[in-house]
């Protein structure tokens, strides 16, 4: 048993008060969870402390919350680990002025342990982000999470009559989409999503992972339609800022961002153009590296908005707007010497790789375009880990076998 201090961001909607912080002392095994600590408070001290929970085993998805600023499940975060993280973060910023608490200023007491103080830093527990708070740690998932889930037409749209028996499909395709199926709709990814923080209309990681579950499903007949829908929505797949927050937040290894990238890949393969110029940006990038080996940023901007037409541009209205929008930045860049000269902004002047290096890059393009293999780590697993275990086992056997004695423990 160990003592912990948890600091909970509370909100009691019927009190007439705004949100406030409240600290509780709890006593439990370090291997027990942050949810267990909250339930202990609820059971022993304050039954009004509100948190959705049910399974306690990371399968029902009820107890999404932020712990020390990180989105996840209360039941899956061990209190001992949460304590270590709280202390680590307190230590890291110990030299700095603490003008803000847990990243935001809200009313209430603020007795965070000072560096060198004897008392350990409290574990900070907040409701999920990117969602309205209803009461304490309970958020309104309906208006955010579920509305977005429903946005992606979340049911199978098979073609024609079902077969007499099962659909015959590639075994790996089922494992592949089972990664998305493993989603328990806890909302941790939505809570952590940095794109949604800036653009609340972003469809978001959970819904897009759900969308991949259908796009990747060989039984679904509307994959291309779905991709059009998700790519052409300005808040769709090309609105993801690729920050990996959802990957780390997900308690079930769904890796929503990976699914979003695969939606992009499939949309690209289907030749879908999007209003965000996401696909043309991607193509431009790929083309520049093929041609130059390293990135020529100025060329990227132009190619992203007016792909493939050299000299004679018939850019879209958005392209013109974006190009014009970048002019002040470019002028500032030239002024400071960041962009060395005007020619730097004109495609074709960027340096190339030395010698035959560029030919080597192009050979790689040829090979990869021919095969275009998507190695799926989720399906294949890491053979190295397997080998490591086998090696250990062999070693143990080798030690044990010759003398016929027990291996030293």
């Amino acid at each position: 048993m160990a003592d912990y201090k948890i600091k909970v961001r509370r909100f009691q909607p019927e009190s007439g008060q705004g949100p406030y912080w409240e600290e509780f002392k709890v006593e439990l095994e370090p291997s027990l969870s942050v949810l267990d600590s909250l339930l202990q408070v609820k059971d022993r001290e304050d039954g009004s402390l509100s948190v959705r929970c049910s399974c306690r085993a990371a399968i029902c998805g009820s107890c999404g919350m932020k712990i020390n600023g990180q989105s996840g499940l209360g039941c899956k975060t061990q209190i001992g680990e949460a304590q270590e993280l709280a202390e680590k973060m307190a230590r890291a910023t110990a030299s700095g002025p603490r003008t803000r608490e847990a990243g935001r200023e809200i009313a209430g007491d603020d007795e965070r342990a000072q560096p060198g103080a004897e008392e350990a830093a409290p574990i900070i527990i907040e409701p999920m982000g990117n969602m309205p708070v209803i009461k304490d740690l309970i958020t309104d998932m309906e208006s955010t999470h579920w509305t977005k889930i429903r946005r992606v037409t979340p049911w199978l749209l098979p073609h024609g009559e079902a077969p007499e028996r099962e659909y015959i499909v590639e075994p790996e395709s089922m494992i592949d989409i089972t990664q998305s199926m493993a989603c328990i709709q806890c909302g941790a990814c939505v809570s952590s999503c940095l794109s949604m923080e800036a653009d609340p209309d972003f469809i978001g990681p959970a819904a897009l992972a759900k969308a991949y579950r259908f796009v990747g499903d060989p039984r679904d007949a509307e994959g291309v339609e779905r991709l059009h829908d998700l790519a052409e929505d300005p808040h769709g797949i090309y609105d993801c800022t690729h920050c990996f927050s959802c990957v780390d937040a997900c308690p079930k290894d769904v890796a929503p961002m990976d699914q979003i990238m695969r939606l992009r890949r499939k949309a690209g393969e289907a030749g879908i153009e999007d209003p965000n110029s996401g696909h043309s940006h991607e193509l431009a990038f790929v083309k520049i590296i093929e041609k130059k080996g390293t990135l020529d940023e100025s060329l990227l901007l132009q190619e992203s908005f007016a792909p493939g037409i050299k000299g004679k541009l018939v850019p879209s209205r958005r392209a013109i707007k974006e190009m014009l929008g970048s002019i002040p930045t470019a002028i500032r860049g030239i002024k400071t010497g960041k962009m060395r000269s005007l020619p730097k902004l004109i495609p074709g002047i960027h340096h190339k790789l030395p010698g035959t290096a560029q030919d080597e890059v192009q050979a790689i393009y040829k090979h990869a375009e021919e095969h275009n293999e998507e190695f799926n780590l989720y399906i294949k697993g890491d053979e190295g880990e397997l080998a490591e275990i086998e090696a250990e086992e062999n070693l143990e056997t080798a030690i044990a076998a010759p003398a016929g004695e027990e291996a030293p423990s």
């Binding site: 700095g96 003008t99 935001r104 794109s195 609105d239 990038f285 400071t336």
Partner: protein, 302 residues
């Protein structure tokens, strides 16, 4: 010297493009620290996650080539860009996971006499930040400081690709990688500024796709750092630098407030503490004025 650090150095694209000051300042700092850089001038772009989104095998092969070039030198690899770190680690994870996939990818390199081999202990590719803390050492770094950044309030800004996903980025073995910037700031004599955005996204990846979302992110983080009393930000990622510094005036318009916060590349911050002058570190090439930082420093003679 036996403990002399020598690395195969991948500078990335942007340090030789829109942030030339990064490439220059790294060279200066390496010399001051006694780190020998063997530049991989034949290496190619990491793909920044964008090529992987187009054709995963292509990204994996391009980076396998870079790794193979590094392996030819017999040295560990160092990069100076969070995005390179993340994109390359992602490819390396796949390449290391499966020998038949690795063989397939190496097939494309065979014509060039190159081959990426999975080391027994794993091929090492570290951002300068990681190398500085894990291999060079904070104590040794602190001992090299000739101009402590006393009283300078620095906000760390990591860049997503170097902090997430933790599992892929070696946090199991090095759990403190997400507080190294803070540790470096302290070692250099500065003060850490705690603010909301340190490990958030600068918005750069969507600058061409959703300018508003992108600049709102950059503007918010810069604004938060200012509100928290920062004199400057420091970042190990030149792409973050583009959005936080080059786009700062545009970001200011989107978040509708005055900004104007210096954003330093990690080698620049280190260089200042080691006595290099702002000008030689290329700070005049920044968009957001570094004047305030220089004034602060002027009070501390090198």
């Amino acid at each position: 010297m036996s403990d002399q650090i020598k690395v195969a150095y991948w500078p990335g694209c942007v340090s030789r493009g829109f942030t030339p000051e990064l490439h220059g300042s790294m060279a200066i700092v390496a010399e001051k620290l006694g780190i020998e850089l063997v530049e991989l001038d034949r290496a190619n772009c990491c793909g920044a996650g964008v090529i992987a989104e187009h054709n995963q095998e292509l990204a994996d092969t391009l980076n396998a080539r870079t790794f193979a070039l590094a392996q030819e030198t017999g040295l560990s690899m160092m990069n100076i860009c969070s995005t390179c770190q993340g994109a390359q680690s992602e490819c390396q994870q796949r390449l290391d996971a499966d020998s038949s996939y690795r063989a397939h990818v190496n097939e494309a390199l065979s014509g060039q006499g190159l081959k990426y081999e999975k080391d027994v202990n794993g091929f090492t590719n570290k951002n300068f930040l990681w190398l500085l803390v894990e291999d060079y050492g904070l104590d040794k770094l602190a001992a090299q400081v000739v101009r402590p950044l006393s009283g300078m309030r620095v906000g760390p800004f990591y860049g997503c690709y170097i902090v997430r996903p933790k599992e892929r980025l070696g946090y199991g073995e090095h759990p403190d990688r997400d507080i190294y910037l803070e540790q470096v700031i302290v070692a250099l004599g500065g003060e850490v500024v705690e603010y909301d955005g340190a490990r958030k996204c600068c918005g750069f990846p969507v600058i061409t796709m959703n300018r508003e979302t992108s600049l709102k992110q950059a503007g918010t983080h810069v604004g938060d750092a200012i509100d928290a009393g920062a004199d400057c930000l420091v970042t190990p990622c030149p792409l973050c630098h583009l959005n936080l510094d080059m786009q700062q005036p545009e970001a200011a318009k989107v978040v509708n407030r005055d900004l104007g916060l210096a954003v330093l590349h990690l080698p620049q911050l280190v260089g200042l503490a080691l006595g290099a002058e702002p000008k030689e570190l290329g700070m005049s090439k920044h968009i957001a004025s570094t004047g305030w930082v220089e004034e602060r420093l002027a009070a501390v003679p090198a």
